[in-house]
Symmetry: C2
């Protein structure tokens, strides 16, 4: 299976961490891809006309996206209900928490794009700040329950929120403000699926 991949995309990393957790990572061949909202990759568009990462091309030519669809496919491939519960009630709650964490990743990516512009929209950055504080507070109250659950889709996405915030917003200081979240992340960060897939910026010297 070929995965259109980038070392800085939190959505790609969800897939790679999931594949590790499912024991499928050696089946993924990664294709380094660089996309930005204004710069689609012409090599990716024939597979995914949205021009987005991650995109997975199966050996039979079937193309899958977005990250949630790919993870659901990999979970099925590994026997099912490993990362996403099968009972409807627990499944809906897992997908709701995933939607919160994934929406937070979307917000952080948009925030970063806005913050790199010469002319920033102050009202938009204020809205990102307000929503981020509401989301962190919600997650801080949720994480104790999460620690009792298997390390599945929503835990993976929350771990990536924490590491993406560290990677792209090192001055945010979230760990001091949200100690339960920080402690939870400390307790799971040595998992091989996370430790072997850290974010890095390939455009900078390592």
């Amino acid at each position: 299976m070929k995965l259109y991949w980038s070392s800085t995309s939190p959505f790609v990393r969800k897939v790679v961490v999931s594949a590790h957790e499912l024991g499928l990572s050696d089946r993924l061949e990664t294709i380094q891809t660089r996309v930005a909202p204004s710069k689609p990759d012409p090599a990716l568009l024939p597979y995914n006309p949205l021009g987005q990462l991650p995109t997975l091309v199966l050996d039979d030519g079937t193309v899958l996206y977005d990250s949630l669809v790919i993870i659901e496919y990999l979970d099925h491939l590994a026997g099912g209900a490993k990362l996403i519960p099968s009972s409807p009630e627990r499944r809906i709650e897992e997908l709701r928490l995933h939607a919160l964490c994934n929406g937070f990743l979307d917000l952080l990516v948009q925030w970063r794009i806005e913050s790199l512009k010469d002319t920033k929209q102050i009202a938009l950055i204020n809205a990102f700040n307000l929503k981020a504080s509401k989301i962190w507070t919600n997650l801080e109250a949720t994480v104790e329950g999460l620690a009792q659950q298997p390390f599945g889709l929503s835990s993976i996405t929350l771990a990536i929120v924490a590491e993406y915030a560290d990677f792209r917003f090192p001055k945010l200081g979230w760990r001091e403000k949200y100690p339960a979240l920080s402690n939870w992340h400390q307790s799971i960060q040595t998992r091989p699926s996370l430790a072997s897939t850290r974010f890095f910026d390939s455009s900078k010297p390592q």
Copy 2:
């Protein structure tokens, strides 16, 4: 159930059309809500810290988002596998096509936001144009197969793509360029779920 709602949101409309198709629309109480990227609604944030529509609050206080999670919940409430197939292979294909149509809605919403700005990013608008032509072409080739399927999640989302394009991009002229899509939409547009939930701009006189 209370649905945080707007007459112009394609993501809200996915939920409302799905509820109609499932015979659940009379269980939804809609709460008119106005959100923009720079203007979160303070009344919505306690329920959904992402500040996004749609958000569903169940009678027991459980809060659900995003649109896909809400639709999966409503489908379960109606007995299951009505709008999203249950067999893994067909389910993954349905979710992949939903991801394409839903990603197109995201693109169209962002395109509209950019087009309303005083200072537009030309490279970004060019990228929207390029991706949109690739997506339309992909959908034009897909729609014949879709017409053979039950009217489910991906059909609903594609119908909303067509009507959102007509609503917000009337000069795009997509119907002339993509006749199979236009014919498919003509064939399904009289469904009560669509006919009774059309987009309208409540800020303009009707």
